[in-house]
Symmetry: C2
Subunit: 338 residues, 2 copies
């Protein structure tokens, strides 16, 4: 049964049914009772869907990610959904992949569903060239846009970022402090966030007397096994390295596998640092020293910002917070150095 | 701008605007053009939201899971969303947790949003006692309900399950075949799926001459580290075990950690088997022998069933498919036994 059936059975207009559902006082009490009786008789839920007829809102937030099965993104999704729900918003989830056209189509779909706000998880939605960002700027003309770990200047666009550059510098500093002499960097794709991480890594490396940072960052798009093989290829090409700083914990797990398979002792003669402080860092043996980029904090803060913006309040368009090193078993503890 | 504004500006009823948006032929071409002009002038997207006025559908499927950050559930969510999107459905995601009241509220919310179907991920939604299942049976009176790895008899309810019982028996058989003599079982909570897994495990154990299966299954609700500690407590209590069969890969990673920390050689004198064939089994060193329960296959099949049911076609209410053992490094290979 839908709103049409109700209006037909009650012998009133759809607008009148909507007014009743929406609690308007422009309906006589007799008409209201008639409509409510029919609704009750038919077990129709006076719902958000019907209310939205008048309010033009569904209290829904669109969440866009590239891959909900990614360990980092899945955590963000979980915390966002729980937090949005606490504020009576539901989540429309879109796994866009990395194709720009597909991202645009998903966005169009969400806008056609009258979502109240958009959340983009990760910086891969932002094109460094700037050409591919117009779809986000267009969307921001209609509803507020929140970028988690992405940054884009524009009206109605809000960014919340972990200070990945400082964090990556700090964790590389830690490896030097623990005795490594030649770290290399592993990443997946060159997103905005990843560029900042590499910048922080290179900053630390240069401060420790290595001037040529050209051959220090390697792209590993694949799995643990593939990462392990890529490191073997790098080594065979004549590059010496005694530590790996990775853009995420899965890449770091690949580095641990490489070290074990090739007879290096971790952390005595090979050190590894991951990123995200995910369950993957705990599943590895030895457990991986990693960077906690505070996924729960970021998600709760993002929802708080969204609610404030939707209430017409003024919030800063950009917020950067610091991460935290969680030292585990893949870096040499101070006392081991003595 | 909403449908009311359009109807006001065009001087026609809301029903007429709806008819135009829905492509009905009961509108004169002059009226149709007038409405479309106003829509175009105001940049209004003739949207799913407006179309749903007539069709009473939003082409949305509600996905309920306990925790989207769980490695297994996040994979299911990813594949479901991608597959639903291919069929022009969007996904409303709900992370319900394990509290029955909260599950009921989420379900009510989804129904109020007029979703077309419901997908429940995991068997924890089904209460063994049967008392807590009425909210699912009620929902199925309105829209089709799909249980992934859960089972509940009822009209308009469809189950797709991995044959966890046979799979767990097979993987335990494998451990015996590889030389273990005393396996124990680790699980999180006693869901329907988990009970079947334990049944399969016990079946194998009894077939290998161990009659008393009472003290063989242990609950580990926590992390890798906690699982490791629980195993130490079990050992200290006097129970001898030389293999662990786990209900998921994270628990298995905890067993690997226990073995390494306590000086056991894997797989020479300690063997481990996981479940789900997740990235966690690949991140562990040694990599964990695990059961591939075909998450992608299950998700694609589920969406295919949903589409067929929504098209009025007849599909079986229950489908069970077999899993596949993926043998990695935590079980003794045949040639090592020679």
């Amino acid at each position: 049964m839908n709103i049409y059936d109700i209006s037909t059975q009650a012998g009133v207009s759809i607008a009148t049914v909507s007014r009743v559902l929406n609690g308007s006082d422009k309906v006589s009490s007799a008409t209201r009772q008639k409509v409510l009786n029919i609704i009750e008789k038919n077990g129709y839920t006076p719902n958000a869907f019907a209310r939205s007829l008048c309010l033009n809102t569904m209290s829904t937030v669109g969440i866009l990610c590239s891959d909900a099965s990614d360990v980092y993104q899945s955590q963000v999704i979980y915390f966002l959904e729980r937090e949005l729900r606490k504020h009576s918003y539901t989540s429309m989830l879109c796994c866009t992949g990395h194709n720009l056209q597909e991202k645009k189509e998903y966005l169009k779909l969400l806008l056609s569903r009258n979502v109240d706000a958009l959340i983009f998880i990760g910086s891969h939605f932002i094109e460094a060239s700037g050409k591919g960002n117009s779809y986000i700027l267009d969307a921001a003309r209609k509803i507020p846009v929140f970028l988690l770990n992405g940054k884009l200047d524009g009206e109605n666009i809000y960014s919340i970022l972990c200070d990945d550059e400082s964090a990556s510098r700090d964790i590389t500093d830690l490896l030097f402090d623990r005795g490594c002499t030649a770290p290399i960097y592993l990443y997946r794709i060159l997103t905005y966030s990843c560029r900042r991480k590499i910048r922080g890594f290179c900053h630390s490396v240069r401060e420790h007397g290595i001037d040529d940072t050209k051959k220090l960052a390697y792209s590993c798009p694949g799995s643990v096994e593939k990462t392990c093989r890529i490191l073997e290829v790098v080594r065979e090409s004549g590059v010496f390295f005694d530590a790996v700083v990775a853009a995420d914990d899965e890449l770091a797990a690949g580095a641990v596998k490489y070290a074990i398979r090739n007879g290096f002792q971790i952390p005595a003669d090979f050190q590894v640092a991951g990123y995200n402080n995910s369950v993957l860092s705990a599943c590895s043996s030895p457990e991986i020293t990693t960077l906690d980029n505070r996924v729960e904090f970021m998600s709760i803060t993002a929802v708080s910002h969204i609610i404030q913006v939707l209430q017409g309040k003024n919030v800063p368009s950009k917020m950067i917070y610091s991460g935290q090193i969680v030292e585990k078993e893949t870096t040499r503890k101070k006392d081991l150095n003595l």
